[in-house]
């Protein structure tokens, strides 16, 4: 029964994804179809045109196993092994730059949030505390 629910709900999510792809190609947007589909589902849920329970089980399942879905793409690196030997510096650049992004964005975010949580607590707004 649960398997059937997951299959049906995944098909609903797939339909939303295809809608997103369709919108993307019709309007020639630079945002990918999957993200348009996500914004569409969020809008539908927000305006209560869509019941959360219609996609709840399927969403949990897909998000939980997302790393598995990435493996076919990551295995694609096998065709570029010689390139890594020829230009090892490019890998180093990507690593350093990735760490810079992670450090900067998380530190700024924590600084801003601490201030905000602090302010909201002193204002006595309980719902903003995390």
């Amino acid at each position: 029964m649960k398997t059937l629910t997951i299959i049906c709900q995944t098909m609903i999510l797939y339909g939303l994804y295809m809608t997103g792809e369709f919108v993307q190609s019709m309007l020639q947007l630079s945002i990918p179809g999957s993200i348009i589909g996500m914004l569409l589902l969020f809008t539908l849920l927000h305006f209560k045109w869509f019941q959360p329970k219609w996609i709840e089980t399927g969403s949990h399942f897909l998000i939980k196993h997302m790393p598995l879905l990435f493996i076919p793409a990551t295995v694609g690196a096998m065709d570029y092994l010689s390139l890594f030997q020829k230009h090892p510096a490019s890998i180093g650049v990507v690593l350093i730059s990735t760490f810079i992004v992670m450090i900067l964005s998380s530190v700024i975010s924590q600084k801003l949030n601490n201030k905000k949580t602090h302010e909201s607590l002193s204002d006595g707004k309980q719902e903003m505390s995390i």
């Binding site: 990918p32 999957s34 399927g58 975010s109 801003l112």
Partner: protein, 228 residues
């Protein structure tokens, strides 16, 4: 026959992934994240058995197809955490924009400074965004889409492997900041790592990944323009 080998590759991928999850549960070291170890094991199997990537993708593409609906599914945790999203909207926007800009500048200029080929610079510039977006950004700017996808994977896996160590060293304990860091630097792979921390982290990470994709598609041509 084709169908059978496709099915075989799907089952093999799932089996390897399930085994690597067990390894990770037994030895929860960041270097052993299932996505990294599964990729290494799958590449080794294919190289030793002399199968090409195209052979593998006859089955693998079925799994990749599910990435689309999986990204759509991220709307659900986003919806559940909409109150947090609303109250931290400005802080989220600011930190993702800062991270994206720093990523583009450091990636492009470090690569230029190392004397790398123009084609390689153009392909690695959009490394921090999810692969379908990175591929279209690099082809719009004159890079090689397949190569862009490889650098996206390097950014994703390195973020999932070393991200938690960095966050711990920097004493980042705020759930939102953890999600922002992983999502901005390592897109979907970072988001799946964030889901190990909790639902809020993965929801924020998916927001960060979405915003970073939008910012990068707008800013990338701008920064490349200065160089070429």
């Amino acid at each position: 026959m084709n169908f059978l080998s496709a099915l075989l590759f799907i089952c093999l991928t799932i089996l390897v992934y399930a085994a690597m999850i067990r390894v990770y549960k037994r030895f929860p070291s960041p270097i052993l994240v299932p996505i990294a170890t599964s990729t290494l094991v799958m590449i080794s199997i294919l190289l030793f058995s002399h199968y090409s990537y195209d052979d593998y993708m006859r089955g693998g593409s079925w799994l990749s197809t599910l990435l689309g609906p999986a990204v759509v599914a991220l709307a659900y945790p986003l919806y559940q955490h909409r109150k947090t999203l609303r109250s931290f909207f400005v802080s989220i926007l600011t930190s993702v924009l800062a991270g994206t800009t720093a990523g583009l500048i450091s990636g492009i200029y470090l690569a230029w400074w190392c004397g790398l080929d123009e084609k390689i610079i153009l392909s690695l510039a959009p490394k921090s965004v999810t692969s379908p977006v990175a591929m279209s950004i690099s082809s719009l700017n004159g890079g090689i889409p397949a190569l862009a996808a490889v650098y996206v994977m390097v950014a994703g896996i390195s973020g999932a492997v070393f991200g938690p160590i960095l966050l711990k060293k920097l004493n980042i304990t705020n759930s939102i900041a953890i999600g922002i860091g992983l999502g901005t630097a390592s897109h979907g792979i970072g988001t799946s790592k964030a889901s190990e921390y909790g639902e809020l982290e993965s929801a924020i990470s998916s927001i960060a990944m979405t915003l970073s994709a939008i910012f990068t598609s707008l800013l990338c041509p701008f920064f490349l323009h200065f160089l070429f």
